[in-house]
């Protein structure tokens, strides 16, 4: 047993989610990503004298929505605070956040680890504004500041220290990403920084109940970094303790180039943020009626649909997981399933054909060109045996994406793919095949039944794939065994 195996890792997360509201948290500036630097900045974003914040109500609705989805208690009376610190990309010299009275309290997110579910408790969710961006490596002499992001609304989701491994962190972050996208709260894009997390890591001997001293790793902006940072940090802490040392509470920075964590600052020069109530905005009062209205406007949640899909519709775990990954996919599936009255076939078509097509063409699912009535017809001609499954998928589907307005049945006719269950036509072909292969017929009749496959192959070749396999099979046997 290695030293590391004696210890249990304990992790808590602070996940920052950038909301996809049209305008900023406290003013009407656009939040669009990628605009030219410092173009989405009004005097309010810039912290000019005389400007005041006014809360964006869309931000509140999104916070409440996420809170309800996670089973949080919605605070009917939350309020904003100021977190004071100086930095060049923080225009007002303070960040507006929620310290004493956050908007959502408690709740949990279920994650799936090794086929089992585990509930990760949420401590609270609070609203705050983002800072701008400092760019230190472009200009030789100066730091450059872009304030487009300053004031963009964020939710900070603070978990309890319920996570025990990098895999669980991964599952939690994936689940959270799925949920915020599902609820249309955020685009959950880690590359663009719409989702980032601070990871609090500590270790303790297995079986120990007391938590160890934790270190906070800041601004981990990809899952790959999170795994590496946690692995490094756990190793570092084990080494220290194994050598008889003790962990110092620190804020750490993860350097992806070296794969190591280094202290940002220690306790001695820790910031005193001097939190105090934001006097420029009254507390946010949310009535029961308001909370109910948000609830009523919400779509069903991914895990609810997953349960429906597996239990009521009998789909496999795999299919159900894929179909509940994104709300659009689930909605698309439910639409097609409803129209076609075919569950498994709808799932297969979406998973195997439509999603890969859209991914390839970089299309949103709802921009997939083929109308739903044609998709329903497509599934129908397979079900009724007019075309084979294979021919439909291989030949008709590509044609449908080229000519989205044409009926798949027409396409099948054009391509001469309609399956033949016309027995006289098939019988004629079979007669010909048997006549061409008298020795093989003999071998078959002597008991080598495996040759049926050969005759089927020949028949398919001759019929150009149009033979209905069931009918053909039956006829072949009759003829061979006559």
């Amino acid at each position: 047993m290695s030293a590391r195996d004696k210890y249990e890792t304990v992790i808590g997360l602070e996940v920052h989610v950038q909301l996809n509201t049209a305008s900023k948290a406290f003013c009407s500036d656009s939040t669009l990503f990628g605009a030219e630097a410092n173009t989405q900045v009004s005097p309010i974003s810039l912290g000019h004298p005389g400007t005041l914040p006014v809360v964006n109500e869309e931000q509140i609705a999104k916070a409440v929505k996420l809170g309800l989805a996670l089973g949080c208690e919605i605070n009917p009376h939350s309020s904003f605070d100021r977190k004071n610190y100086f930095y060049a990309d923080l225009p007002k010299g303070y960040q507006i956040t929620q310290d004493r009275s956050p908007i959502c309290i408690g709740g949990a997110l279920k994650i799936k680890i090794d086929e089992a579910f585990k509930s990760i408790r949420i401590h609270h969710i609070h609203m705050e504004e983002d800072a701008g961006k400092s760019i230190h490596d472009t200009d030789g002499a100066y730091s450059l500041i872009d304030l487009n992001r300053a004031g963009v609304p964020l939710l900070e989701i603070v978990s309890e220290p319920d996570l025990r491994s990098a895999e669980e962190v991964d599952a939690f972050m994936s689940g959270m990403r799925q949920l915020v996208r599902w609820l249309d709260v955020s685009d959950g894009n880690m590359e663009q920084g719409s989702m980032r997390c601070d990871v609090n890591v500590s270790i303790r001997l297995k079986g120990e109940e007391e938590f160890g001293t934790r270190c906070e790793i800041k601004n981990v902006n990809s899952m790959r970094y999170a795994r590496r940072a946690i692995a490094y940090e756990v190793g570092r802490q084990v080494d220290i303790i194994e050598k008889g040392g003790s962990i110092e509470q620190q804020t750490l920075n993860f350097d992806p180039d070296t794969g190591t964590t280094t202290p940002l600052r220690d306790k001695e020069d820790a910031h005193d943020y001097r939190y105090f109530p934001e006097p420029d905005m009254p507390p946010i009062r949310l009535s029961d009626g308001y909370i109910q209205a948000v609830k009523d406007g919400m779509v069903r949640l991914p895990w609810e649909l997953y349960e429906d899909f597996t239990e009521k519709l009998g789909l496999s775990d795999y299919d159900a997981s894929l179909l509940t990954e994104e709300v659009e996919v689930a909605k698309y599936f439910l639409g097609l399933q409803h129209l076609s009255q075919q569950t498994k076939a709808s799932a297969n078509l979406i998973i195997n054909k439509i999603l890969p097509y859209c991914k390839d063409k970089q299309l949103a699912l709802f921009d997939f060109p083929v109308a739903s009535e044609n998709l329903v017809e497509f599934l129908d001609i397979i079900r009724t045996g007019k075309v084979s499954n294979a021919m439909a998928y291989q030949r008709i589907f590509p044609e449908m994406t080229e000519q989205p307005d044409r009926s798949p049945l027409e396409i099948a006719k054009d391509l001469n793919l309609l399956q033949s269950s016309d027995t006289s036509f098939l019988e004629e072909l079979i007669e010909g095949i048997l006549a061409d292969n008298p020795d093989k017929v003999k071998v078959y009749r002597n008991g080598k039944k495996g040759l049926l496959g050969f005759f089927m192959g020949e028949l398919m070749k001759k019929s150009k794939g149009k033979a209905d396999p069931k009918v053909a099979n039956k006829l072949l046997r009759e003829k061979l065994e006559a």
Partner: protein
């Protein structure tokens, strides 16, 4: 040209052709020049005011039906109120030559009613002060006696009306900064209820206390300006959505007003004898008029100033963090690190009083001291607000001295900040409780210095308050 102390006379004189807007502005510009030594204005918008006056004269001729409510009113604005395309420096070096990109809601609303803004008035730096000696641009002198301070922080605004350089002035009142200089200059000064007028476009000092205030000679002008400026604002979440009464139409005499006063205020050891006598005379006058007058106890009087300074400096320490030299305002160009840039810029460009309050506010919010100072002061504020509002549900008005003493000599108190802070003892209660108050002149000391008393009413009872002050002869 005759001096006008009310808008009706101005408008009548213009209508009758005795004068014009342009002549009126020219007159005020003359007055400003004559009183330049008082250092009232930081900037006079001479050309612009004359042009606006000319345009208004044309409008009077051509489309009088389109005239706004405030036509003919020439107003000054305190240098903490933003006016698009104009400088706003908050009396500070740190904002020297800073131009505002937008106008305060109050400014927009008076301009929309055809007021003419003649200039921006000097004030204590970031509205922090009781004597106007904290301006980076030099003190303002009291027009009645230039040896004396005019009061603060809206000292320039008060003297601008006192010396007839305009008809009315906009100031701001965080702990008495309108009422106190009004009293020391012998004019009317009003602080409306907190949230009555939008704070959008006011350079913030203490956000939960700041309020636009009005200086004038008569209640009619205050009522009119208040009704124009007050009301909900999409740019200020703390602006009240309460409907705005037509204050100028409701200045009716009250039948049986009831007036309370604090015995502890009247008997306060710090209160000047002459002011005490004038206050007693005023109470006697009320009694003779048959009003209900009662002395009541108020046990928190001595806690008001300490609690006020804890809370306002806490808010100020945060509000003034944005003056960091990064995006606008003064920057020490020699500094070669971010840390140095902050420290040098703020050290060089903030005045002593502002630095004192930033440090005090930073201290009371610091870990380990927060509860002892900030939390406790908030509790005191709540007690004072509740007690005050309860009293004002039993009485129509609370009468107080405005200041413990008349205008003092320049430099007399600058070495003792605590004594300076204590001069706010009678005015900060209105800001702590969010209620409106009006300072009105009651007479003069033997030395000839004006004395003002102050009437307060319950929150959003400005209509009643204005009516009663009018009844007193203003």
């Amino acid at each position: 040209m005759a001096k006008y102390s009310d808008l009706a006379s101005v408008q009548q004189a213009i209508r009758e052709g005795q004068t014009s807007c342009k002549a009126l502005v020219a007159f005020y510009l003359e007055q400003i020049k004559e009183h330049q030594h008082l250092n009232i204005y930081l900037e006079v918008f001479e050309e612009e005011a004359l042009q606006k006056a000319a345009a208004l004269d044309k409008k009077i001729q051509e489309s009088p039906e389109k005239l706004g409510k405030l036509w003919g009113m020439v107003v000054s604005i305190k240098d903490v109120i933003c006016y698009q395309g104009h400088k706003v420096s908050a009396g500070s070096k740190i904002l020297e030559n800073f131009e505002s990109l937008f106008s305060a809601t109050a400014v927009e609303r008076i301009l929309a009613e055809d007021a003419i803004i003649i200039g921006r008035t000097n004030c204590d730096e970031f509205a922090m002060g009781s004597s106007n000696e904290n301006s980076a641009y030099g003190p303002v002198l009291n027009g009645i006696n230039p040896q004396k301070i005019p009061g603060g922080s809206s000292g320039g605004a008060a003297v601008s009306v006192q010396m007839d350089t305009c008809l009315a002035a906009l100031g701001t009142d965080t702990g008495g900064s309108v009422r106190q200089p009004a009293a020391l200059c012998g004019i009317l000064g009003m602080k409306p209820s907190y949230g009555r007028i939008s704070r959008h476009g006011l350079v913030a000092y203490g956000s939960s206390f700041d309020q636009v205030g009005i200086f004038a000679h008569k209640t009619e002008e205050m009522a009119l300006l208040l009704e124009v400026m007050a009301g909900a604002d999409e740019y200020d979440a703390t602006a009240s959505k309460r409907e705005v009464p037509a204050y100028s139409q409701t200045l009716e005499p009250l039948q049986q007003p009831s007036i309370a006063y604090y015995r502890s205020a009247l008997e306060h050891p710090g209160l000047d004898e002459e002011i005490r006598t004038l206050m007693e005379q005023q109470l006697d006058e009320f009694r003779r008029a048959g009003y209900r007058v009662e002395g009541v106890d108020f046990k928190y009087l001595d806690y008001i100033v300490p609690a006020y300074y804890v809370l306002t400096t806490a808010e100020a320490s945060s509000n003034l963090s944005r003056y960091d030299g990064v995006r606008f305002g003064f920057r020490d160009k020699e500094a070669d690190s971010l840390e140095d840039m902050y420290t040098h810029s703020r050290t060089q460009a903030f005045g002593e009083e502002v630095k004192r309050r930033i440090m005090l506010g930073t201290f009371v919010l610091s870990a380990g001291y927060y509860d002892a100072y900030y939390t406790k002061a908030q509790k005191v504020r709540r007690l004072i607000a509740e007690e005050t509002r309860r009293l004002l549900s039993d009485f129509d008005f609370l009468l107080m001295p405005t200041t413990p003493a008349p205008a003092w000599n320049l430099g007399e108190k600058t070495d003792d900040p605590v004594e300076m802070y204590l001069a706010d003892i009678f005015t900060v209660q209105a800001n702590m409780a969010g209620i409106p108050g009006i300072a009105f002149p009651v007479g003069k000391t033997g030395e000839g210095l004006p004395v003002g008393l102050q009437l307060m009413s319950n929150v959003f009872e400005e209509a009643k308050l204005l009516s009663f002050v009018k009844q007193l002869g203003y």
